[in-house]
């Protein structure tokens, strides 16, 4: 009997006056890998942002429950400390803050405990090596001047470092070369275990190769309109979304 990690019930959310999420349900159990696919502009990024309480969006209805706790009222940083992580579709550049220092800060913030510098650096080095990132990137300013692919790898590095309960990956594979996608998949595999959950938002199937996908959801116009097993991803890749749009 698996335990529920995230449960979203009848979620409605808007940006300004525009409703984008229009009654969405989703349940992710511990140990599961979920995939959301859907046409451009369907609301996938909005959903991830609402799960993390981006103040840009207003949740107007519904509940978000993490590990049995309703987190509706919590702010972004509080939700992150409860264990939610998102790999951004467009990661932000933060000049003057090094990757290492940032991660150290974030680690302290999410765990509430001091980090042991030596072990922290060792682990960081190891993870960077696994992700085929050059060691000098540890000292570079966070995302500043990183190529699109490098930024995405850096998101995965953050995920591995912070080791959240739930990782939402918003198009982490977009714009990556074939090898980089494999590296990202490898990162996901390193992270994923029976106690956490992964939600992958993607337009392709390459990132899923070598991963065990439990469910694929189709998100159209702010709602999940179909849920099936891993094969659905291949089917969508072959046929597109035509049949889901009326």
């Amino acid at each position: 009997m698996s335990e529920t990690l995230l449960e979203i019930k009848n979620l409605h959310a808007k940006a300004g006056d525009k409703e984008i999420i229009k009654g969405l349900d989703l349940k992710i159990n511990k140990g599961e890998v979920h995939v959301i696919m859907g046409p451009n502009g369907a609301g996938k990024s909005t959903l991830s942002n609402v799960i993390l309480a981006n103040p840009e969006y207003t949740q107007t209805e519904g509940d978000i429950i993490l590990d049995g706790e309703n987190i509706n009222g919590l702010k972004t940083d509080e939700r992150a400390r409860k264990g939610i992580f998102m790999s951004f579709q467009s990661p932000k550049e933060i000049p003057g803050v090094s990757v290492t220092n940032f991660l150290k800060y974030a680690k302290i913030a999410t765990t509430g405990k001091p980090v042991k510098i030596f072990e922290f650096k060792k682990e960081l080095e190891k993870n960077m090596e696994e992700l085929k990132m050059k060691p000098e990137y540890a000292n570079r300013n966070l995302n500043v001047g990183f190529s699109g692919g490098e930024k995405k790898k850096n998101e995965i590095l953050q995920m591995l470092t912070l080791n959240p309960k739930l990782a939402i990956l918003d198009e982490t594979d977009s714009g990556l070369d074939v090898d980089a996608i494999k590296t990202v998949s490898k990162g996901i595999k390193m992270y994923s275990n029976e106690n956490n959950g992964v939600l992958i938002i993607t337009h392709g199937t390459k990132i899923l190769q070598g991963l065990h996908v439990d469910y694929v959801h189709v998100l159209v116009d702010g709602k999940i309109i179909k849920t099936s097993t891993g094969d659905l991803a291949n089917e969508i890749e072959a046929k597109g979304y035509e049949e889901y749009k009326k």
């Binding site: 993390l52 981006n54 103040p55 840009e56 702010k75 972004t76 940083d77 992150a80 400390r81 992580f85 998102m86 951004f88 990661p91 932000k92 933060i94 000049p95 003057g96 803050v97 940032f102 800060y105 974030a106 913030a109 999410t110 300013n141 953050q158 912070l162």
Partner: protein, 470 residues
């Protein structure tokens, strides 16, 4: 509701700098205002030689003729009739901290000055109100002929060199406040580094204005002779009073052939201070002046260091940051005049404004026809932390030769909600996310500051941002 938060914030910070408010004790405090009698009285008090007394009186005449600047921040709150221009502390200059009166010494202790002297400085000067109360320099530098003393001693002991340079770099006629300075100047430091001598660790002068409704008018004169080098640091602060205080210092720097001077300033005046300071450097062939400036305090600042590149291959570099919070109008900038071939200047400025603060950066680059093959690069960046605050950059360039390389970059931006969200999504609080972005923005400048000031600056940023949310 955020009002109560803000109060604790000021209290926290002031424990270091703004809170230590000693009794207004002095052995002499001039009458408020600026008249011939007052200037004569100051000259008397200071035992000026005749030439200096005449100089002061001439400067006063110029002061009376000149008008207030017609541009920049509003100076209406400054009423010269309410300012005592000379306050002699109740001690004379000491060469041992032990001899400095307890309350004054405690102030400098709290500012970390004696500690810094032991650890990382080649010499220290400390001015309290109008007079220097402590001065020291390492023995081996004295042996090499380096002079570091208060300005009064220099006038007395090195009259020729002082006469040759005093207010020659910044002439009294320059503007009204320079003329005022010429009339009532007191204290400050004199440095002479002889030919070829490298002063490896910095000299530092610290200025503290304790007396309410008064002014500080210190004069700094530095001559770095041929092939010599020096790093000079000045720091300044004051306790906060309700009424306006005035700072009108003057800094004159002479950088001779192939000499190198780095001049670092950390200005942390309290927020009732009018800071109308003038600084200028004349650089000869192959010489280099570096300005490193952090402006955080004062109510109003007008401060535009100027470098005159008179010799071929001479260089200027400016690295500066200003942070204007609630009620502050920091009008800063830089002027550079390229007067000779192959000269170069690099300007790198950042300004931050929050809570309705105003930070303006003005730059003027003038390249004379003789300055062929010169290079200039100007980069100004400002960051506004909210909609109430203002930041502006006003660059003016006057380039009178074709053969010049000039690059200019200006960026004005607001702190972005998306960046804050990104950091918060990693568990970092909103306050800390903002502080992190601001510290990161300031980092290219703060890394140039002397270490303890860089730390101070980060603390300041953290404290300024604390309780500023919601």
């Amino acid at each position: 509701m955020s009002e109560s938060k803000k109060k604790t914030q000021i209290k926290d910070f002031s424990t270091n700098i703004y809170d230590i408010k000693n009794k207004d004790e002095y052995s002499y405090k001039s009458k408020k205002g600026i008249t011939k009698e007052i200037v004569e009285e100051i000259s008397e008090q200071k035992n000026d030689p005749a030439w200096m007394r005449d100089f002061r009186l001439k400067a006063l005449e110029t002061y009376n003729k000149l008008e207030l600047p017609t541009w920049g921040p509003n100076l209406d709150e400054l009423n010269m009739d309410e300012i005592a221009t000379y306050v002699r502390p109740k001690t004379d200059m000491k060469s041992s901290w032990d001899d400095v009166p307890e309350d004054i010494k405690n102030t400098f202790d709290a500012l970390g000055i004696p500690e810094a002297e032991k650890e990382s400085l080649a010499g220290v000067g400390a001015q309290y109100d109008s007079e220097v109360v402590y001065h020291s320099i390492k023995e081996d530098l004295v042996k090499q002929g380096v002079i570091y003393t208060d300005m009064e001693t220099a006038v007395r002991d090195y009259p020729d060199i002082v006469k040759e340079h005093f207010m020659k770099c910044v002439p009294v006629s320059d503007h009204k406040f320079v003329a005022l300075h010429g009339a009532v100047w007191s204290g400050g430091s004199f440095v002479y580094v002889p030919k070829g001598v490298q002063v490896d660790i910095p000299l530092q002068s610290y200025f503290r204005l304790n007396s309410p409704e008064s002014g500080q008018f210190e004069h700094t004169l530095i001559i770095v002779d041929e092939g010599a080098s020096l790093h000079f640091i000045e720091g300044c602060s004051a306790p906060k009073y309700n009424k306006v205080n005035l700072h009108v210092g003057c800094v004159e720097l002479f950088v001779k052939k192939n000499a190198h001077l780095r001049y670092s300033t950390i200005e942390n005046w309290s927020k009732n201070m009018m800071n109308l300071n003038t600084k200028r450097a004349i650089v000869e062939e192959g010489g280099k002046i570096e300005w490193v400036t952090g402006s955080f305090g004062s109510k109003v600042s007008m401060l535009y260091p100027m470098a005159v590149l008179n010799g071929a291959n001479s260089k200027m570099e400016y690295t500066g940051i200003s942070f204007a919070g609630h009620g502050q109008n920091l009008d800063t900038g830089l002027k550079v005049v390229h007067n000779a071939p192959n000269t170069s200047s690099v300007i790198n400025s950042k300004s931050i404004s929050k809570d309705g603060g105003i930070a303006t950066f003005r730059s003027l680059e003038r390249v004379m026809p003789s300055a062929k093959n010169s290079k200039l690069s100007v980069s100004c960046e400002s960051l506004m932390l909210d909609n109430k605050s203002k930041s502006d950059t006003i660059p003016v360039s006057d380039i009178r030769t074709e053969e010049v390389e000039f690059s200019h970059e200006a960026k004005i931006g607001k702190i972005s909600d998306e960046e804050i969200f990104y950091l918060m999504s990693r568990g970092i609080s909103e306050e800390e996310a903002k502080a992190m972005i601001v510290r990161g923005f300031a980092y290219p400048i703060s890394k140039e500051l002397p270490l303890e000031y860089a730390v101070e600056m980060n603390n300041l940023i953290n404290l300024e941002l604390e309780g500023s949310i919601g």
